[in-house]
């Protein structure tokens, strides 16, 4: 259909509308259905075959004792308390401890259930079982179908609908047909994951543009911890079709290898040996190695595409390859044949790796029911804030299952005691009008061009290393984009059916909004904590910054507050500590439990 020929006024009803076709969304929809309400799940890509869950490594984490009790070796001397402490200390004490308690408590139940639903387990260690994102999602999808969850694919959420202070549904775009669909529901669960697309390189699939988080913010929901972005280290930067793939990260973690700069120096040897040892053998290495890599690049010792080089190191090739193929037979990782990478490593040809945006610790503020400050609105999974504090060291796959279940349960209870809300027709008209603007403009700015600039600026100035100058410049840039460029985004084709430029224009609205909030929070947080590293404030300040930065939009203006971190069990130490010293302290505080978590 071409703009202006016919307005589509489709309305679809559900008791609980779930936004997101990954693990958190599926688990929420299953739970809501099990509680006897009609759940409709809308997915931006194909359900269970899109989203960050699909690309997950994927390990499921839980305490070693519970894993032992599930019939795996696990680690009998581990306890839930130890797992809790490790998540909070490695999260730099910024975690909402109430939510960490829930994670640790519910993880074994969720993992057991998935085993019952038929996931395939590859191997297991002290605190984790390794499976695949697609295996988890297939098991969840099968269960969702048994529970009669309604599913619609290729629907992008544009905005939430609000009537009389409560959520009444959402406006969605059917990407393939171009129809703007009004979804009316008693409750909504957002499970839209991170906003990887704000960065290049990123390790996500292409749809992750933070649509749910940005929509929640525009609807008046609180967001927090937006300055915390995990950059996975050792991600492939070259050639183009490998860019953003984390395979060398996994090889370095599971098998070994060496990182060198453009001078051939083993640059990690400059750092404290304890930090290097723990920082390259546990999930920790994401932030530590990302910062170390970014520093080499900043100081002129980087590779042509802005990273460093990954090599086999001292291990004999035969040994190296046999270890790799134990985990990844025939060098196959997911659907990718990496035998060429194997040859490159064997021949000593350069393999360029570096940091890529991978996980977003911040997002929508929720309470223990995974309820937001908007009546009827719930959120689960990566799009929420606070579970992992300033640094995620346990699995986000377990997060999506635990949080999805609870959000689905309370959304269903809310729906059961509520009437079907009315739709504010005026709001829908206004939103539709705004959404089709890029199709109506005759000339303007190309979405692809703006996206490329924004991604590059974000990576440079809101990346693994931040400082006042870069952040201030970035805030100015992003405010200019918001004011002068977003309203001018314009598509060449005016067709509504699968118009990539139109989708990107809508995504840019969200990306720019979230980057603005992230950069302003990063500028405000004058310390370094977890994955937020400021070269001009290179210390962790527990006297002033055991606080979350909370953001809310009210009548078009940004309101910022600071919320003291929620503590239930583990009292954080006071004092100001140089960042690397803090890193070492926290690493040493980790319990004696082995494995990668």
């Amino acid at each position: 259909m071409v703009v202006g020929t016919k307005a589509v006024d489709k309305v679809v009803d559900a008791d609980v509308l779930v936004v997101g076709g990954g693990g958190a969304g599926l688990r929420a929809a299953i739970e809501a259905s099990e509680r006897g309400v009609r759940a409709l799940l809308i997915s931006k890509g194909s359900v269970a075959r899109s989203g960050a869950s699909l690309l997950a490594g994927a390990d499921l984490t839980l305490d070693g004792e519970s894993l032992h009790n599930l019939g795996f070796p696990g680690e009998p001397i581990d306890t839930k308390q130890k797992f809790f402490s490790d998540i909070v200390t490695q999260g730099f004490y910024l975690n909402n401890q109430r939510i960490v308690e829930i994670y640790v408590e519910d993880a074994p139940k969720r993992v057991k259930e998935l085993l019952d639903w038929g996931i395939k387990v590859g191997f297991a260690e002290e605190r984790a079982i390794f499976t695949s994102g697609s295996s988890i999602l297939s098991a969840l999808l099968k269960r969702a179908k048994e529970m009669d969850v309604d599913i619609m694919n290729d629907i992008m959420v544009i905005d939430l609908l609000i009537k009389d202070g409560r959520v009444s549904g959402a406006l969605g775009l059917d990407i393939k047909t171009g129809d703007l669909i009004t979804f009316r529901s008693k409750a909504v669960v957002l499970a839209t994951g991170g906003w990887h697309k704000a960065y290049s390189p990123n390790a996500g699939s292409r749809e992750l543009s933070g649509d749910g988080v940005a929509a929640a913010y525009r609807a008046g929901a609180d967001l927090a911890n937006m300055e915390f972005v995990t950059f996975c280290c050792n991600v492939l930067l070259w050639p183009p079709n490998w860019r953003g793939i984390i395979f060398p990260y996994l090889l370095h973690l599971l098998v070994g290898g060496k990182l060198v700069n453009s001078k051939g120096e083993d640059f990690l040897s400059k750092y404290d040996p304890t930090i290097v040892k723990i920082g390259t053998s546990m999930e920790w290495n994401k932030s530590f190695v990302s910062i170390a890599t970014a520093l080499e690049v900043l100081e002129g010792r980087g590779s042509p595409h802005g990273g460093v080089y990954y090599e086999v190191g001292d291990m004999a090739w035969k040994e190296f390859e046999s270890r790799v193929t134990k985990y990844y037979p025939n060098w196959k990782y997911k659907g990718i044949d990496f035998s060429e990478l194997g040859k490159m490593l064997k021949d000593g040809r350069p393999v360029e790796v570096g940091p890529a945006a991978e996980y977003f610790e911040g997002g929508i503020v929720v309470n223990e029911k995974f309820e937001t400050n908007i009546s009827g609105l719930y959120a689960a999974g990566e799009c929420t804030a606070s579970l992992f504090g300033a640094n995620r060291v346990a699995a986000a796959t377990t997060e999506m299952l635990v949080e999805g279940t609870i959000a689905g349960r309370f959304a269903a209870d809310y729906a059961k005691k509520s009437e079907m809300p009315d739709i504010d027709k005026k709001q829908v008209d206004k939103l539709q009008e705004k959404a089709i603007l890029p199709l109506k403009l005759k000339e303007g700015i190309k979405p692809a061009e703006l996206l490329r600039n924004v991604q590059q600026m974000a990576y440079e100035q809101l990346g693994p290393i931040r400082d006042n100058n870069g952040l201030s410049e970035f805030v100015k840039y992003i405010e200019m984009v918001k004011k002068d460029q977003l309203p001018k985004l314009c598509t060449v084709s005016k067709s509504m059916n699968y118009n990539k430029e139109w989708i990107e224009a809508l995504e840019l609205e969200n990306i720019v909004q979230l980057l603005e909030l992230s950069a302003k929070s990063a500028l405000m947080r004058t310390e370094s904590r977890g994955v937020h590293y400021r070269s001009d404030y290179a210390w962790t300040d527990n006297d002033n910054w055991l606080k979350e930065i909370v953001l809310r939009e009210d009548a078009g203006d940004l309101h910022v507050t600071k919320r003291p971190v929620i503590i239930t069990i583990l009292m954080p130490p006071s004092g100001v500590t140089p960042y690397m010293e803090m890193v070492k302290k926290l690493m040493e505080a980790h319990s004696e439990i082995g494995g990668h978590h």
């Binding site: 699909l54 050639p239 079709n241 990718i336 979405p447």
Partner: protein, 112 residues
């Protein structure tokens, strides 16, 4: 993304927009390529630099060869665009027998 070109290739793409009642036709583009460029990278290059009106499955592409969203016919053979490396001339079409939404985007699981 931008990359150093090793050579120029001809890329022939089957275009079709059912909403304008037009007919399907092949359009040809000259695209610079380097080693390690996939069909999906080439489509990205065309979209970003030559013709932003081109439609291909991108909005939820996983790039890891698992989602199946980028299944196309390349040089007459069914292929995953993200896992098919290219150095010479190519033709790209949607699979036959599926209902085309626009250009290279078609309704998965729904036959004509």
């Amino acid at each position: 993304m931008k990359y150093m070109a090793e050579k120029l290739i001809k890329v022939k793409i089957l275009r079709f927009n059912p909403s304008t009642n037009g007919k399907a036709y092949f359009q040809s583009y000259d695209v610079p390529v380097t080693e390690g460029v996939s069909v999906l990278d080439i489509l990205d290059f065309i979209y970003e630099n030559l013709d932003s009106g081109l439609a291909y499955y991108d909005h939820a592409a996983c790039r890891h060869g698992i989602c199946g969203g980028c299944s196309l016919v390349v040089n007459g053979k069914p292929s995953l665009a993200c896992q098919t490396l290219i150095l010479g001339d190519i033709s790209v079409e949607p699979p036959k027998n599926f209902k085309v939404i626009r250009d290279l985007v078609y309704k998965r699981g729904e036959l004509k």
